[in-house]
């Protein structure tokens, strides 16, 4: 067991800074936003440090109580890649916020945003199943408040819907956790994972269903994703970007941490203990989500809502990838998660810039954008083509891997992938339609959009990253493979790294 307690700062620093932001807010509102940027920059570079110096996998022990007695953070390859992803996306959106967040209570907005990202990082790194609940609530409550922020009233409606569904979801999750506790008497993920087969199978199944249902709310899987369209549409654009680029990452992470590490039964293809294969359940949910999301997006005329539905559908794709249960599937899932998060966050940010110039969200309003701002149009196109899985952009490789994994699994996954590919064609249609509107029509007015530096930085960074991943997939590929290993080999990849002596004498 390797310990590296300094990494507690990954959670500690955002908390400290979040607590101090109201004080900075007395000095200047701008300072509060800069604090967010600096803190997330710290997180990002800490993540890169962990990655490049190859410190992972390691444990962070809280309060000197080693797992399974106390709480710990476990930062393996999967957590590393997601921490870097989340902090990068967060950093970029916080830079964007320097420009965009300027009405209402900016100080508290900055604070909540910081804690949303910090909470997601905690969620990703924690090694305690109840601690996950706490961090889910941290991200949850901050995202309700963030979603309610904004000048438009629809933000409030969306936030309330999210709140209700999410509360029910977290209650279900809590029930699931405690049902497991009654059997095993511990809350540590590693110990539960090692001993999951010692539970009563009926109870385990039920607990698993509750956990899946609770976590599917954050992971945006049908039928628990009713909140998605309204909340994404209602929230201001950087918040939508955050929800889709960071929030769903955390949701998916926990869902598959629970399913594959805690409930997982090792094999060629990971399945779960209990009477019911929850992986198959999630695969069904994922397919339904993809189809419903894409078809709903197809008939949308509001671009933001279209992005929301597409976001949902993409999460379905990610879920399908993980649920295949093989290394390749997990690899595809991680890859797709990274690509989706970057691309979708960028597209919401671009939409935010567009809307701020008085251009509407309706698809007709996108006409002739090319003549107004080639930069934004190109960036949007890059994002869209990446989501469609076209080459030169990151999404190509993930979709490639996803199809490979499903076909390798065979069986009924052939149908799943057929459905997915059909839905992808639908997705291609509506994205290319927007792109077409942007490129073809002459605009009615030719006012140029001047993008100032602060929103331009994240958009440029995201597009460069998308293209870089598209050309050199090994940027994400290597660590994704390690992450896939961690997920599919639960004893070697997770449990023994946390509690080395669990195998016994």
């Amino acid at each position: 067991m390797k310990t590296y307690n300094l990494a507690a700062l990954l959670v500690g620093v955002p908390l400290l800074m979040a607590f101090s932001i109201p004080l900075f807010g007395f000095i200047s509102k701008q300072l509060a936003k800069w604090i967010t940027v600096l803190t997330l920059g710290f997180e990002f570079f800490f993540g890169l440090y962990i990655f490049f110096w190859h410190i992972y996998p390691f444990n962070v022990i809280m309060g000197n109580w080693v797992p399974p007695f106390g709480e710990n953070l476990y930062i393996g390859p999967f957590a590393t890649v997601l921490i870097i992803l989340v902090s990068f996306v967060g950093l970029m959106i916080s830079i964007y916020n320097l420009w965009s967040a300027n009405h209402g209570d900016v100080v508290h907005f900055a604070l909540l945003f910081l804690m949303f990202v910090g909470g997601s990082i905690g969620l990703i790194s924690t090694g305690d199943i109840f601690n996950i609940f706490i961090f889910m609530e941290i991200t949850g409550i901050s995202s309700f408040a963030l979603a309610a922020y904004g000048p438009e009233r629809r933000a409030l409606g969306g936030a309330f819907k999210y709140l209700v569904i999410s509360s029910i979801g977290s209650t279900l999750y809590l029930f699931g956790v405690l049902l497991i506790y009654t059997q095993l008497g511990t809350l540590n993920i590693a110990e539960i994972a090692a001993r999951i087969s010692q539970t009563t199978s009926g109870l385990l199944t039920f607990a698993g269903i509750l956990l899946v249902a609770g976590l599917a709310v954050e992971a945006e899987l049908f039928p628990f994703n009713g909140w998605v369209p309204d909340t994404y549409t209602g929230a201001v654009n950087p918040v939508s970007a955050t929800l889709s680029g960071i929030g769903s990452v955390g949701g998916i992470y926990v869902l598959f941490r629970i399913l594959m590490t805690v409930f997982g039964k090792d094999g060629n293809f990971v399945s779960t203990y209990g009477n019911m294969d929850l992986m198959a359940l999630v695969a069904i949910l994922g397919s339904a989500t993809v189809v419903i999301g894409e078809l709903s997006a197809l008939v949308q005329k509001n671009v933001k809502k279209m992005l929301a539905y597409s976001s949902m559908a993409q999460m379905g794709l990610v879920a399908i990838g993980f649920s295949i249960g093989s290394k390749l599937g997990a690899y595809a899932g991680v890859f797709q998660l990274v690509n989706h998060s970057i691309a979708k966050a960028m597209m919401f940010l671009i939409l935010g810039v567009i809307v701020s110039f008085g251009i509407g969200e309706h698809i007709e309003d996108m006409k002739g954008l090319w003549y107004k701002s080639p930069f934004l149009t190109l960036a949007f196109t890059i994002g869209a083509l990446s989501l469609l899985g076209l080459p030169l952009f990151g999404g190509f490789w993930s979709k490639f891997a996803l199809v490979d994994a499903s076909i390798q699994r065979g069986g009924w996954y052939d149908f799943v992938i057929a459905i997915v590919l059909f839905a992808s064609v639908v997705e291609a249609f509506y994205y290319l339609r927007i792109v077409g509107y942007m490129f073809t029509s002459k605009p009615t007015s030719t006012d140029k959009i001047k993008v100032s530096i602060s929103p331009a930085v994240p958009i440029v960074a995201f597009s460069i990253l998308i293209v870089a991943i598209g050309i050199f997939p090994q940027i994400v590929g290597g660590i994704s493979w390690n992450a896939a290993h961690e997920l599919t080999d639960k004893m070697g990849g997770y449990v023994l790294n946390v509690i080395p002596t669990i195998v016994g004498h």
């Binding site: 409606g157 209700v164 569904i165 029910i168 199944t205 039920f206 269903i209 509750l210 249902a213 709310v217 049908f222 039928p223 628990f224 009713g226 909140w227 369209p229 309204d230 009477n275 019911m276 359940l281 189809v291 078809l295 709903s296 197809l298 008939v299 949308q300 290394k327 390749l328 690899y331 196109t381 083509l385 469609l388 076209l390 080459p391 190509f396 490639f400 199809v403 490979d404 076909i407 390798q408 065979g410 992938i417 057929a418 590919l421 992808s424 064609v425 639908v426 291609a428 249609f429 290319l432 339609r433 077409g436 490129f439 073809t440 997939p473 090994q474 590929g477 290597g478 493979w481 896939a484």
Partner: protein, 620 residues
């Protein structure tokens, strides 16, 4: 720098430069042209057998990717890049919204497609080519229609790619490698055991190729897309991009014609099916073409009709069939390029694509007229131009296999092609010149150079086909078939006989001069204005006749249109459209799930949970 790599890198660099400088149209066009030329120069550096491999850390494996030059690929490379040079040179004077950087991306992709030794690179390049051409088509003149055309193309193309993607993984999961060669040889190995299984996998690939080439029943996107694409891009689309499908077929055809495949009439089943697809495409294309009034659409149909010929020929996979197919592919590139370049020249001058509004242009654009004339003569298979030889060989190949009915079909298609070419020829260039076009001028110097070059090429390869047949023979050889005998550059050797193109050329020229002299000396003719018509005492307005309708190309084949109309009601197009509409309808219905009422969402969530619980009981 390795010149194989240069074939990929140079276009990409050029593309980046063109993208940055796209605001300055002429600079952009110049960069495009120069990049094509430089790429062509690198082509001289490479020779058959050159190979380049590298490794990609992907899917947790160290995948080997590579480029390799085969006789087929070098033939394709020369063909496409040379045509690209001609086209981009012409485009220097062209004004449509063609984006040079996308064309260069397409070039990089096309080079990669022809050289790739692995399926990952092949698919990557295939998709790259797909989306860059899709984006290009968005730039068409009419925004609604071009968007529709591009989306139609995108849907078909992406659908085809996904089919290929599934095929790739079915294969690679069997063999554990992505190398094309080992996959094909593996398939050959298991062909005896599971013929239908192999055919299933291969047909997944074939769908993609058929879509890209516009083969029946996936031809429906062709007219929409060709018709609406930016003018500068249409020749590339029809001449070059349709050949990717041919190349793809040629990768897998050796396999399907193997000895273990169930066969019919001495021809392996898949080949037989492909042959029929090809023949039907040829006929359908021709028939649909002569009912078109839009000139770009007409030649779009013409283009895929010719692809039908090519497919039918290569599907035979005999020496003569293959030679004929490849030869026709080459000729198609040439004459289709010539036709489309002249057509877009005319379109850019007269500003319409409707043939019924043209007429008499030959007086204004004589050189264009001549090039077009030679082009359609070649397309119609009139000796001595390129096109005659290949069609002649195709018929020989069909007959030598005893496929009488298919031969008849192809023959019918060939005749139909006379009809539509005749129509286009007449409607655009002959007849009376409308006063609208009094100010129309011949193309610019650049255009003239291009046209002269194409004219020369059409005649040169028509009378000295050996220059093409030689490399084709080496291709045939590389497939393990015995190439046809060669006997000099001017000879085409068929299965039954051979012809000397030079002597035919002399005969034709002599005949033509004689005929023209006769026409000039004997026939009485005078120029009349368009309105000068015999209306037999009727007042034209009573019949709702407007001057446009006097134009003799108006409703050129009206009687035949009426005869054929009932048969054309069955539309493949309608199938795809209906499918799209029903998907949209389902989408509308599904959207209603998200009503915006939080209670419904709660019901969904809790209801979903309850369903899981019940499912849990069932398996309890």
């Amino acid at each position: 720098m390795n010149s194989l790599l240069a074939l990929l890198i140079v276009p990409v660099i050029g593309s980046a430069a063109a993208a940055v400088l796209q605001r300055y149209r002429l600079v952009e066009r110049l960069i495009t042209f120069l990049t094509f030329s430089v790429t062509f120069l690198f082509l001289f550096e490479i020779k058959i057998g050159d190979i380049l491999t590298w490794h990609l850390d992907f899917l947790g494996k160290n995948l080997e990717m590579g480029l390799q030059i085969t006789p087929l690929s070098i033939f394709m490379l020369y063909m496409t890049i040379a045509f690209g040079i001609v086209l981009t040179f012409y485009n220097l004077s062209e004004r449509s919204k063609m984006k040079g950087f996308l064309l260069l991306l397409t070039l990089a992709a096309s080079n990669w497609i022809f050289m790739s030794t692995d399926l990952i690179g092949f698919f990557f390049a295939w998709e790259l080519m797909g989306w860059s051409s899709i984006l290009m088509i968005f730039g068409g003149k009419r925004e609604e229609e071009s968007r529709h055309g591009a989306l139609y193309y995108a849907m078909m193309s992406i659908g085809g790619s996904y089919s290929m993607l599934i095929g790739i993984f079915l294969l690679s999961n069997l063999t554990g490698t992505f190398s094309i060669q080992s996959n094909v040889s593996y398939l050959t190995l298991i062909l005896g055991l599971h013929p239908w299984w192999v055919l299933g996998i291969v047909s997944l690939f074939f769908v993609a190729f058929m879509v890209k080439s516009g083969i029946f029943p996936f031809h429906t996107w062709v007219p929409h897309t060709y018709g609406e694409a930016p003018d500068g891009f249409v020749p590339y689309l029809s001449s070059v991009m349709s050949k990717y499908g041919v190349y793809g077929f040629l990768i897998f055809l050796p396999l399907t014609s193997g000895a273990h495949v169930p066969s019919v009439l001495g021809l392996a089943w898949p080949n037989y099916v492909l042959l029929w697809f090809g023949s039907v495409t040829a006929v359908a294309g021709s028939v649909l073409a002569f009912m078109q009034d839009d000139v770009k659409k007409l030649f779009a149909y013409s283009s895929f009709s010719n692809l039908g010929f090519i497919l039918a020929a290569i599907a035979l996979f005999t020496p003569i069939g293959l030679t004929a197919g490849m030869f026709h592919a080459f000729n198609h590139l040439l004459f289709n390029g010539a036709i489309f370049i002249t057509v877009i020249a005319v379109i850019s001058k007269v500003g319409t694509t409707r043939m019924s509004e043209m007429g008499g242009i030959w007086q204004k654009m004589p050189l264009t007229f001549l090039t077009f004339f030679v082009g359609i003569a070649a397309a119609a298979g009139i000796p001595p131009f390129a096109g005659f030889g290949s069609k002649w060989m195709i018929f020989q190949a069909m007959i030598s296999h005893g496929l009488i009915f298919a031969t008849v079909l192809l023959f019918f298609a060939s005749i139909a092609s006379f009809l539509y070419l005749m129509r286009a020829f007449h409607a655009i260039f002959l007849g009376q010149l409308s006063h609208k076009y009094d100010n129309v001028k011949e193309v610019s110097a650049i255009g003239k150079i291009t046209e002269v070059f194409l004219l020369g090429a059409l005649i040169f390869f028509g009378i000295l086909p050996g220059f093409v047949l030689d490399p084709i023979n080496s291709i045939v050889n590389s497939f393990g078939l015995k190439p046809l005998p060669t006997s000099g550059y001017e000879y085409i050797n068929g299965f039954f006989s051979s012809i000397n193109m030079v002597s035919i050329f002399i005969v034709v020229i002599v005949t033509f001069i004689f005929g023209f002299a006769l026409f000039a000396v004997v026939a009485k003719h005078k120029k009349v204005p368009q309105e000068d018509n015999y209306t037999a005492g009727q007042i034209p307005q009573d019949w709702n006749l407007t001057p446009e309708m006097y134009q003799f190309s108006y409703d050129f084949y009206e009687p035949m249109d009426k005869e054929l109309a009932p048969f054309l009601k069955v539309k493949i197009d309608g199938f795809f459209k209906g499918f799209g509409e029903s998907v949209e309808y389902i989408g509308e219905a599904i959207k209603e799930i998200f009503t915006g009422n939080v209670q419904i969402y709660t019901y969904l969530a809790v209801g979903g949970l309850v369903i899981f619980v019940i499912a849990g009981w069932v398996v309890w």
